[in-house]
Subunit: 397 residues, 2 copies
C-alpha cells in the first residue's frame, strides 16, 4: 500500500509529542507538556446564553451553507477590534478559518511549490512545521532568543535563499515564550520590505500580555508584506476552531479559492454563537481574568526555577502567553532529563521537535497555564531534583 | 505579486457557478441553480434541545482541544448505523472531517502527487474537481449515464493510465441524478480489485431515496479498495460542516496526520451537539420527511418536462437526491438557453463546469429541493418556453 501515498505525507512523522507521551503515565504525574488553555477559564455560561440568543435571532440561517469568506458580522467585529488597537484592516481582507492551523494550511497551499524556501524560527512552532512540511517547504531556520530574531543570519538567508515565506510568532512565542523587542521588529521589517518574501505574523497569544510593554505589529510596519493570523482559541475557546487570516489582495482571492476547495466554509452555527458572545460580553474583561491566572502561575514557575534549579540552567521570562523555555548547560540533553523526570512523575516537552535539523538539544518547553499554583510548586520541585541529579551525574562522569 | 503563488492555485478558476450568477438577478427570478438542502426542513427545535442537553452533560469539555480522529461517541454512532445497514465498519477506520469537502481535500493531500491519474465521472461533481485540482490531478473522465459508468471506457483507462484514485457518486449523483445499476457496480468492482486504484465512494445523498430499489455499496464489494465518504449535510444540516471518511489502515494513519496539519480537529462543540441530536431523535423518521418533500417536488418537475418541453429534450429520472439532468438536442448549448432563460426570470446551472475538457455542452442541472411545487410549475413553464424558443430559432436558422 505504501506506494499509493503522496510524497508530501510519506515523510511527515506522527506527532513527536504524542509519541513521547503515549505510554500511560504513572498516576499522579504532573504535566507541563500541554499546550492547552486552562479549561476552568472557558466562559461556558456566557456561551450558553449566546447560543440561546442566536437560536431566536437567526433561526434556520444558523444551519445553511454559507460564505467561504466567513460570517460577515464576525469579520466586521474583528476589523473593529483592530481599529481600536490602531490597525486599519479592510473587512474584505479578513478570511475566517477553521482555527489558525487552517490559516497555515491555506497559506502553504496557496504559496508553496515543492522545495520553496520558508524561514522558520529556531526553535519554531510545531504546528507550523507540520503544516508547511505537507507542502514540502525548504525550511530555513533562523535563531530567535530574548533579543528577538538573529538579524545577521536573517539577512544572510534572505540574500542567499530568496524565501517565499517567513513564519514568525513575535509575541510570547510558542515554544520559547520570547517576544521580539521593538527595535528588532523594525530591523526585520526594513529587510523584508526590500525582498519578495511574505512575512506571516502569527499572533494567537498577543492579547495574553502580563507586562505593560507594547510593540509594533509587523502588519503596522509593512502591511503589503505581512499576512496576519489571529485566533479565538486562546482568548475564548479552542473547541470552536475559529481563527482568521488578514491578507492583501490578490492573495485573499487565492486564499478564498483554497478555502472553498478545503472545506467550503467554516462552521456557520459556531461563528454565529461566537459573534453573539463577543457582542454581549466584554472580551477585554474576560482576557484580564485569564491574564491574572496565567501571570500568577508563570511567576510561581519562574520563582521555583530561580530558587531551586542549578544556577547553570537559564530560562526565559515571558511577558505573556503560555510557555517558558529552559536551557540546560551543555552537553546535557533534554531527552535524558525527560527520562529521569518521568520516573519522578513530572513531564515537559523536550526541545527536539521544535528544531528542523537538530536532535538531543539542551532546551525544553514548560507550560504553566493548565496547572494550579500548588501543582506547579510540587512539579517544579521534582523537576529541579531531576535536573540537579542529571547535572551531578555529568559532573561526576 | 503573481509569482508568489503556488502552481496548484494559479490555474484554479473561481467558481463558475458564482460567476454566472453574480450579476444581480431580476426580482422574481426562480432559481433551479442551487445545490442547497431545503432550509425549511432543518430540525432546528431538536438541535436547540440537544444543545441545551450538552451544556449540562459535558460542561467545559465542549470547548477544549480534542482528538484529531473526531468525537468518539459520534464515530461509534456512525459505525452502529452502518451495522444496521449490514456494513461492518471498525470505529478506528472512521475519521470525522469538517464536511465531506474536507474528506476530498485530505484524500488529495494524502494520495496525489502532481500529475497522478484520477478517474472522474463525466459529468462529475464540481467540489471534487476543485479539491483534486489543487493537488494537480490528471483528470481522466469516464462517462456516466442512467446505465451507470461506461465499462469499456473504464477498462481502457484503468489499463492505459493506472490511476491512483477513482471518484464516484454512485447514488443520485451530483450533477446528473443518476444511480449506478446493481450489475454495473459489480462490473466496476471486478475491474478495480485487479488494480492498485483506490475507489472513492462519495455518498452524501444515499439516504434520500425515493424508490424502493437498493444497491450494493462498493465498500461492501471491495472494502480494501474503497474509501467511503459520508456527510450529515443533506440529512441533518450543512452549516455544522460535519462529514466522515471510512478508510482502511494504513491510509487512516496518513489521513489523521493530514487532518492534524490541516485544522487539528473538527469543531468539538458541534460534534457533541450533533451526536446528542442523533441520540435523542429518530434520524430515519426525519429523513422520511425530507424524502416526502423532495420526492413530490421531483415528480412535479419531471411531469412539467414530460408535458411542456419539446420532445427532443431528454432527462433523467432520479431515484433520490437533489438533482435532475436535462439534455438538449444537439447542437443547442445550455449556455445559450441560460441567456434566454435569465431574461424570462428562471436560472439553472449549464453543464459546462461538470466536464473536464468540454464547453458549450448541451446538458444542464436542475435542483428541485429548494423550490416549492407552485414555484417549480411556474419556473418550469418559463424554462419550457425558453427551450422551445431556442429550438425554433435553431430549426429556423
Amino acid at each position: 500500500m505504501k506506494t499509493v501515498f503522496s510524497d508530501r505525507v510519506r515523510d511527515v512523522p506522527r506527532s513527536f509529542i504524542r509519541e513521547i507521551l503515549k505510554d500511560a503515565l504513572m498516576p499522579g504525574t504532573i504535566s507541563f507538556a500541554g499546550g492547552l488553555p486552562n479549561r476552568e477559564l472557558f466562559p461556558a455560561k456566557e456561551i450558553q446564553a449566546a447560543t440561546h440568543t442566536v437560536f431566536e435571532r437567526y433561526g434556520n440561517d444558523l444551519f445553511q451553507y454559507s460564505a467561504s469568506e466567513g460570517f460577515l458580522p464576525l469579520r466586521e467585529w474583528i476589523a473593529h477590534r483592530y481599529k481600536e488597537k490602531g490597525l486599519e484592516v479592510p473587512i474584505e481582507h479578513i478570511l475566517i478559518t477553521s482555527g489558525s492551523q487552517q490559516g497555515l494550511d491555506l497559506l502553504g497551499k496557496t504559496v508553496l511549490n515543492d522545495g520553496d524556501g520558508l524561514i522558520i524560527e529556531e526553535p519554531g512552532y510545531l504546528g507550523a512545521i507540520q503544516a508547511f512540511s505537507i507542502y514540502r517547504a525548504n525550511f530555513l531556520p533562523v535563531p530567535v532568543s530574548e533579543e528577538g530574531m538573529d538579524i545577521p543570519k536573517l539577512s544572510a538567508v534572505l540574500k542567499t535563499e530568496s524565501p517565499k515565506l517567513m513564519y514568525t510568532v513575535p509575541n510570547f512565542q510558542n515554544p520559547s515564550g520570547i517576544t521580539y523587542p521593538e527595535q528588532n521588529r523594525h530591523d526585520i521589517a526594513r529587510r523584508i520590505e526590500k525582498t519578495e518574501t511574505m512575512l506571516i505574523e502569527d499572533d494567537p497569544y498577543g492579547d495574553l500580555r502580563f507586562s505593560e510593554n507594547h510593540y509594533s505589529s509587523f502588519y503596522s510596519l509593512i502591511p503589503e508584506h505581512t499576512v496576519l493570523l489571529g485566533s479565538f482559541s486562546k482568548v475564548v475557546v479552542p473547541g470552536f476552531r475559529i481563527g482568521w487570516i488578514v491578507a492583501p489582495e490578490p492573495m485573499m482571492q487565492k486564499l478564498v479559492i483554497a478555502k472553498q476547495a478545503s472545506d467550503l466554509h467554516t462552521n456557520q452555527f459556531t461563528q454565529c454563537v461566537l459573534h453573539q458572545y463577543l457582542l454581549d460580553n466584554n472580551l477585554d474583561a474576560h482576557i484580564a481574568k485569564i491574564i491574572a491566572v496565567y501571570g500568577a502561575q508563570k511567576e510561581v514557575m519562574r520563582n521555583s526555577i530561580v530558587r531551586d534549579f542549578p544556577s547553570e540552567v537559564t530560562f526565559t521570562n515571558p511577558e505573556g502567553g503560555m510557555f517558558l523555555w529552559l536551557t540546560l548547560p551543555k552537553p546535557l540533553a533534554a531527552l535524558d532529563l525527560f527520562d529521569l523526570a518521568v520516573k519522578d512523575k513530572v513531564v515537559f516537552v523536550p526541545g527536539d521537535p521544535f528544531y528542523i535539523k537538530q536532535s538531543r538539544v539542551n532546551t525544553l518547553r514548560l507550560n504553566y497555564t493548565c496547572v494550579d499554583i500548588d501543582t506547579i510548586q510540587t512539579g517544579m520541585a521534582r523537576l529541579a531534583k531531576a535536573t540537579q541529579s542529571l547535572l551531578s551525574n555529568m559532573q561526576a562522569g
